[in-house]
């Protein structure tokens, strides 16, 4: 009995020590980070205290990301909410040599051809911020409130597929969360299961 419990405790300790996906929790402060963007600037999360912030894990070559950019769905969300003062940070955590890792110029080119309306596209090639947030998929969405606490993490919508047609019939969790938050209402889906390609971290 005792020995079994002891094993369990040690197992858990080993797990928490060895867990590479640290992750964040809704209701808790979102960890601060500083990352360069594709245009030569740097962004510190803490500089956006007082504003709503969206983090969007991004990989231009992932079919799930392409579903939401190809349909214009993601750009429309970015446009709508950045116009309302929301800071929209897309983060590319693809490691060098992996799918979705491009030089900044190339990413800017893709962004302008896609007509993205994000605040900035941040580069996280060593995956440090991705791991800190426990980002698993592209897209993987996080919403941070003006106090700096995480209020939403998970999928962009309710239909895990690459089919464009699903966007129309899906429930867009991010839109609901942002609409509710900006109008001071609460919302129920604060954690959902993200879907997509795995984030292309270093081998």
């Amino acid at each position: 009995m005792t020995i079994r419990n002891l094993c369990l405790v040690f197992g858990m300790l080993a797990l928490s020590a060895g867990a590479s996906l640290a992750g964040v929790e809704v209701g808790q402060p979102a960890p601060d980070f500083g990352l360069p963007d594709t245009k030569g600037g740097t962004h510190q999360l803490s500089q956006y205290k007082g504003k709503w912030v969206v983090l969007e894990w991004y990989n231009p070559d992932c079919p799930f990301v392409r579903k939401h950019y190809g349909s214009g769905n993601m750009q429309a969300l970015q446009k709508e909410f950045t116009a309302k003062g929301v800071i929209w940070l897309s983060i590319d955590s693809s490691a060098p040599g992996q799918e979705g890792n491009y030089p900044a110029d190339k990413l800017n080119e893709i962004a302008s051809s896609q007509g993205s309306a994000r605040t900035a596209l941040l580069l996280d090639p060593d995956g440090k911020v991705g791991h800190e947030y426990g980002a698993k998929t592209t897209p993987d969405m996080y919403i941070i409130n003006p106090e700096g606490n995480l209020v939403y993490e998970g999928a962009i919508d309710s239909k895990p597929s690459t089919a464009l047609a699903d966007i129309k019939t899906a429930t867009n969790y991010v839109k609901i969360a942002l609409d509710s938050s900006l109008s001071g209402k609460s919302f129920s889906q604060t954690v959902t299961r993200p879907y997509g390609c795995s984030v292309k971290y270093a081998q």
């Binding site: 992932c62 392409r66 490691a95 954690v191 299961r193 993200p194 390609c197 795995s198 292309k200 971290y201």
Partner: protein
């Protein structure tokens, strides 16, 4: 290479998303080329990533019969498609059956997937190289003549370092003239790797939350088993990777979502054998094996009932119960000699005692399971207090057998009591039945393990039924005697041999006590065992007083004195227990040369207590002298640094200091009056509060004198 890479990207892009104007022309060409293969082509580097093929296990469908239909996926090396729960990334493979009217497809069967790592510590559940996802199809009673076309649409995501979605529209024509089975090798290969619907006998799983973690515990699995758990979490619950930790698999739940239910596949690998089985876990109870419907459960219950009956019968000869049961037989013998009809009724009452005890056990199990606690066979022995009570009863029983005291009904008893007395040992027989049962619980007899393990996973009615069956099995010999009292004749006649046998049985009970003492030791350590010893001593004294001075023939005065003595013994015992175990109110710090040096530098007076757990004098001194109000007050007032040097395990540093002061052992008490150069005062071995106070006073006096002198 770069150009090739770019073209590949473009193909992927065009294959998945509505073509953008820039690449429209090229895309159209590529798309036309790939139209040859149904669905999205998924040609990367000239390889088709996934080939999907609709297959059946027969060439000819018979009316009203079942057959198996599946999609066989052939995947290029290193790429994978996903299980019904994909893990951290990816999406489950999907099949939509398109069957002619009247055909009914069952749920999709998923062979056991592999747990694969992706870069960055991501983990997915997937299939590599080849897999068959299949189902059972029920054909209608009326079939059209001629060929029958079956179809299915499948979507999947195939990933390696990148992910490519794919789909296919598949079809298969049966009843085209061919007869007999088909694709037997494929279907038998993948049927064998399906998780079983029921858990293997003896294994059970439970789940309990622990912070943001979910602990899935495996019970009954052999030591050294490799365990795994593939969860199928409810929608929007994010589970992190399961890791084996002892007999458990620990999953962490993102967002701390409390899971009440969790389906999944449990895997136990031991001695080269892999058991995979479906389970549905609930936080408020044990795994309900995902058996196929009521009939299978009912069959399980019936089997468990049979096992329970046999197991209960065997319990009678297990070492935990044998002494008590023998006692009972013995009781029957003496009764039968006088009044056979009474023996008959006694046997009935004894059986009733057994049964009622099992009813109580079943009720407790049901109750605890309802509130979410974990219980198993013999669960009550996990509480040491329970074991203490049982041990005391066993000891009292033994003393009774040795003849130290007799249990007699008071002659002055009136009314109901008198009736009970007249009825003889009915109450006793009932009690002995329950007592035998309680003692029986820690003894798992053959057959019983299987039956009770099953009972713990079942709904309340089945739990009761199985427990009752154990009870009936255990009571069977006595019930037989009750039904056929004539058989009592075959039992030996009463005589003086009974006294000797009683004593022998008494020793058997003492042996039982040895085992109970060991349990207490395991649960509470040495202190618990000593507590038990103390309790037994008290019971011994009480029993002796009872047997010697409170017999049916002793005078009223003798009885009154006996009662008084018993109360006194109890009072003294309880008082001294609390006195001895009360923690010291002095804020002792652990002694070391370092802590002493530090204290010396502070200039404050120091008192060092050199002690050991096994030193009775030390304990007495601490209780009566050091922990007295006067000494504690003096310590506080003079801001004495109090150090305790524990020599229980023979610390060489402490041995050295003892030697320096000419002592070979503990106790030793040193008082440093304060100031670096003042030598310590050595107090005598036996101290009283006054000795300590005097020593402190005298030495501070010398300090004052010394200061005056200097």
């Amino acid at each position: 290479m770069n150009a090739l890479f770019a073209i590949r990207k473009l193909v992927l892009y065009c294959a998945t998303v509505a073509p953008r104007p820039v690449s429209l022309g090229l895309a159209m060409t590529l798309l036309t080329a790939s139209m040859v293969i149904p669905g999205r082509a998924q040609v990367v580097d000239g390889r088709q990533l996934v080939k999907a093929q609709l297959v059946a296990d027969t060439q000819h469908i018979e009316p009203g019969q079942k057959f198996r239909l599946g999609v066989l996926y052939t995947i290029v090396p290193k790429w994978h498609i996903y299980w019904k729960y994909a893990g951290d990334a990816g999406i489950p493979t999907q099949i939509d059956w398109q069957l002619p009217p009247g055909f009914r497809a069952d749920a999709l069967q998923w062979p056991l997937p592999t747990r694969d790592q992706e870069p960055g510590g991501l983990e997915v559940f997937d299939y590599n190289e080849e897999v068959l996802l299949f189902t059972e199809v029920q054909a209608p009673d009326q079939l059209p003549t001629g060929p029958i076309e079956l179809a299915a649409k499948s979507n999947w995501l195939v990933c390696e370092r990148e992910c490519v979605p794919g789909d296919a529209q598949l079809s298969l024509t049966l009843n085209g003239g061919g007869q007999g089975p088909a694709n037997q090798d494929i279907f038998s290969k993948y049927s064998a790797s399906l998780p079983k619907a029921v858990s293997p006998a003896g294994y059970s799983l439970s789940m309990k939350p622990s912070g943001s973690q979910m602990v899935v515990e495996f019970a009954g699995v052999p030591q050294g088993s490799r365990l795994d758990f593939f969860p199928v979490p409810p929608e929007n619950v994010v589970l992190n990777h399961g890791k084996q930790a002892g007999n458990s698999v620990v999953l962490s739940v993102d967002g701390g979502a409390a899971l009440e239910r969790l389906k999944g596949v449990a895997v136990v690998q031991v001695n080269g054998k892999t058991d995979a089985f479906d389970v549905e876990l609930q936080t408020s109870g044990h795994a309900a094996a995902n058996a196929g419907g009521v009939s299978a459960d009912l069959l399980g219950v019936l089997q468990a009932v049979a096992f329970a009956l046999v197991g209960g019968l065997i319990l009678n000869v297990m070492p935990c119960v044998l002494p008590v049961i023998s006692l009972k037989i013995f009781g029957f013998v003496s009764e039968a000699g006088e009044r056979p009809d009474k023996a008959f009724r006694l046997a009935l009452v004894f059986s009733a005692g057994i049964m009622s005890c099992f009813a109580v056990l079943a009720a407790i199990v049901t109750f605890f399971r309802a509130v979410g606690a974990e219980v198993g066979w013999g669960f009550q022995f996990q509480d040491y207090r329970f074991v203490l009570v049982i041990a005391c009863l066993v000891f009292a029983f033994a003393l009774n057998l040795f003849g130290v005291f007799e249990l007699t009904v008071s002659a002055r008893a009136t009314g109901g009591l008198a009736k009970l007395a007249a009825g003889g040992g009915y109450g006793g027989a009932f009690f002995q039945g329950t007592f035998a049962t309680i003692l029986a619980t820690p003894c798992t007899a053959p057959f019983l393990g299987t039956a009770s393990a099953f009972a713990f996973t079942q709904p309340a009615w089945a739990t009761f039924l199985i427990f009752f069956s154990i009870g009936i099995g255990m009571a069977l010999p006595y019930l037989l005697l009750a039904i056929q009292p004539k058989w009592l004749r075959y039992l030996p006649k009463p005589g003086s041999w009974m006294v000797r046998l009683k004593q022998v049985l008494g020793f058997l009970l003492l042996a039982t006590l040895l085992w109970l003492n060991w349990i207490v030791g395991r649960l509470r350590g040495v202190d618990g065992m000593v507590e038990l010893g103390g309790l037994l001593l008290i019971i011994g004294i009480l029993a002796w007083i009872k047997g010697s001075f409170w017999t049916p023939v002793s005078s009223g005065r003798s009885r009154a004195l006996a009662a008084l003595a018993m109360v006194a013994v109890l009072g003294i015992s309880i008082g001294s227990y609390f006195f001895v175990t009360a923690p010291s109110k002095i804020p002792w710090q652990a002694f070391s040369q370092q802590s002493l040096d530090k204290a010396l530098q502070s200039g404050r007076p120091i008192f060092v207590d050199f002690t050991a757990d096994w030193c009775l004098t030390c304990k007495a001194n601490e209780r009566f002298a050091l922990d007295s109000a006067a000494v504690r007050g003096a310590f506080t007032q003079q801001q004495v640094v109090v150090l305790r040097a524990d020599w229980t395990h023979g610390d060489p540093e402490i041995t050295q200091i003892l030697k320096e002061h000419g002592r070979a052992g503990v106790p030793m008490y040193l008082f440093y009056p304060g100031g670096k150069d003042r030598p310590p005062v050595v107090l005598p071995e036996l101290i009283s509060p006054q000795t300590v106070l005097d020593a402190m006073k005298a030495s501070s006096q010398t300090v004052v004198d010394a200061r005056k002198a200097s």
